[in-house]
Symmetry: C2
Subunit: 417 residues, 2 copies
């Protein structure tokens, strides 16, 4: 069997998390690993050696990875602000790119991704694992079957108490803190926006047209720093730019609205708060309900509304996406409820088959742009700002794409003319 030869650039928490899945894959060979910290490089070299047999090349310079001829694809899991530079260089070096998620710092960065992919012909896939979440894919399946009717509104968020990681993350050399000090925006939009965009056919017969974004005050990080590091600690005495909760409303060409919430510095239960509201049905993550007109709301009773433990998922089986039906039979792999594995398989199998990635460079640009646009809107007191059309009009009558069919996330849009 021919193995797909890859490099992994960025070996912090996320790079290590992905590698847990990768070392189990027989059809992938990790040829090189890269990080700016030597200890991380050594650790990963040993980890790969132990599980896969070979010792990958280790380097602090990503350009050395890109210079290795036999490498066909790279995974970029560095800090947010390094993603685009490395992705652009990788495409220029002819390496199929799998880029971890994050938000854009500038709209120009989104254009750089698009421009480079168009000029080089090299695909760039955004590694948005939540697109392969069980419930997200169930919604895709429900929509495909017509059970939700016409979708008019979606909500999602990143509700994740990251106070400890932000305030004490420097010991882990984490990159969040500086973002929370200097920026105020929807800094992590794609986890729920990605699946929602797929449901709404964004870049595939629909597009995001404009957004408004509003931030609450920043009150939590200083209080938390004082509690954990003492009242005299510098982190308890600076002004954090980032508001504790950022709410963004996006409007789409098709008339749909999307509400996105970033909520990462307050105590609470983890949730991505997915809501998919159609004219014939509604999926609601937080109250574990799937309300379908066709069932007269049947799965909102004890079977589905979270009152009976675990049954949300049991009932979901009725409507599971074919990919998840099979996955549940085969055994769900580790990493974020099994999403990481499916996402990585989608990436590697698309590279191997030399077909379109299920999340392409236009998706990456559009989804990531929300960070920069929300920063603008907040800075201007909540003024609406336009979302660029990164497809330059190709969204309105998209060409059919070649996918590894089972990983397809696009709904095939109705032909209008």
């Amino acid at each position: 069997m021919k193995k797909l030869k890859i490099g992994i650039i960025g070996l912090g928490g996320r790079g290590r998390g992905l590698s847990i899945n990768i070392v189990d894959m027989d059809d992938v060979e990790v040829v090189a690993v890269c990080d700016e910290y030597e200890d991380r490089v050594e650790h990963m070299q040993n980890y790969v050696k132990e599980h896969m047999g070979n010792t990958p090349i280790g380097t602090k310079d990503y350009k050395e990875v890109l210079a290795i001829d036999e490498i066909e694809a790279v995974i970029i899991s560095t800090s947010w602000e390094a993603h685009v530079e490395i992705a652009v260089a990788a495409m220029r070096a002819g390496k199929y790119v799998g880029m971890e998620v994050g938000g854009a710092y500038a709209i120009e960065d989104c254009w750089k991704l698009v421009r480079t992919s168009e000029e080089t012909g090299v695909p760039c896939m955004l590694l948005e694992n939540c697109c392969y979440g069980q419930m997200e894919m169930m919604c895709l399946n429900l929509l495909d079957q017509g059970l939700l009717g016409e979708i008019v509104h979606c909500e999602g968020g990143y509700h994740h108490d990251l106070r400890e990681e932000i305030i004490n993350g420097n010991e882990k050399r984490h990159y969040r803190l500086r973002n929370y000090i200097m920026r105020c925006c929807e800094n992590y939009p794609t986890h729920q926006l990605g699946p929602i965009c797929k449901l709404l056919n964004i870049n595939n017969g629909n597009r995001m047209v404009s957004l408004i974004s509003v931030a609450s005050k920043s009150a939590s990080l200083r209080e938390y720093a004082a509690k954990k590091r003492g009242a005299d600690d510098p982190l308890a005495n600076i002004q954090y730019a980032q508001g504790d909760v950022v709410t963004t409303i996006i409007r789409c060409a098709g008339g749909e609205t999307i509400t996105l919430t970033l909520d990462t510095t307050l105590p609470r239960v983890y949730s991505r708060g997915l809501i998919v509201s159609g004219t014939q049905g509604c999926y609601h993550e937080d109250n574990h309900s799937l309300y379908l007109d066709i069932n007269e709301g049947k799965y909102t009773g004890d079977e589905f509304n979270g009152k009976a433990p675990g049954n949300a998922y049991e009932c979901a089986e009725l409507y599971n996406h074919p990919l998840w039906k099979q996955y549940l039979k085969d055994g769900v792999k580790y990493g974020h409820d099994g999403m990481d594995y499916l996402m990585l398989r989608a990436f590697f199998e698309s590279v191997a088959a030399k077909v379109d990635p299920p999340i392409d460079v236009y998706d990456a640009a559009a989804w990531m742009s929300i960070s920069s646009l929300s920063e603008d809107s907040i800075a201007m007191g909540g003024l609406p700002v336009p979302v660029p059309d990164f497809t330059s009009g190709k969204w309105i009558k998209p060409k059919a794409k070649k996918y590894v069919e089972k990983y397809r996330l696009d709904i095939i849009p109705e032909e209008i003319d």
Copy 2:
């Protein structure tokens, strides 16, 4: 015992719903009832006679009610658009007003309420029952005890599938349909905004400063009308102005944000979607969780997160507001999970004691204004619009008020100077 003599103006579904509670009260006498439909008047006269012994005066003209000397207070439960005119006339006639909820059609209507109450010295209470909801009051109690820390963000909504009532409500002479045809706004803001404003000390050391509002397309009502009344029915062939989901973000002087969602024409489970997010705790209605730092999230486990049936409420008992603790002992009365009774008692006992109502005319004006302001913002493509200060500056150092203490909803604000 001296009985409080009242009139009830507006005897549709809501007026009847309130009367179920009122006829059980020994200290209240219904002296007059009024509605534009004679059959409703007769029905209510008979209903009061049956349960209270006396036959109230019946009339189609609210002015006749206001002309009755012995009446001390009126309840106004007419269609939304008649509330303000009647409330103003009632205050001018010296009758203490209990006005049912709804949104404003014009900012001037909000000023009329304020101006009239200030000029006449007659109080006007907005009958927002959700302020007396068990969970809403638990949040008030948690905040009072300092267990939520500093509140930075709240969310709430009116998620209620009203398709049947809107499309087939004309047979019940309902007033919603004409609003959904002609207006696009947050048309029913107060159910969740009311309790949130009390938690945020709005008009009591804080105020709402501005809002933005965005509407989704309107897709559901036509589809529903076609299904229920046939594709040729006029209601299946008109353009509804009201978008299916309207999302509003409000900013407060204290830096807090409030996200309000109106969601009344799509299939889904009923919810008011309350979220109260503070620096030390979060209450989340939809996932039945109360996450407090002090408990290290204890009540987000099986005890509180909805996985174990009923336990959300059981655990809530730990933190129940004193009013609800007593209410649960005495037995919860009918009507909207017991809220209606508490709200009516708060109204009647405030009138009898001649003290301030717990929800006053400034609250009414500010909360109702959101409808009209959201209509403006939506019409202008989501531009931010200012929220008037109906207290004319009195919010910034509010005078102490006299309340019937147990029905108090205001947090006593910290003295700054």
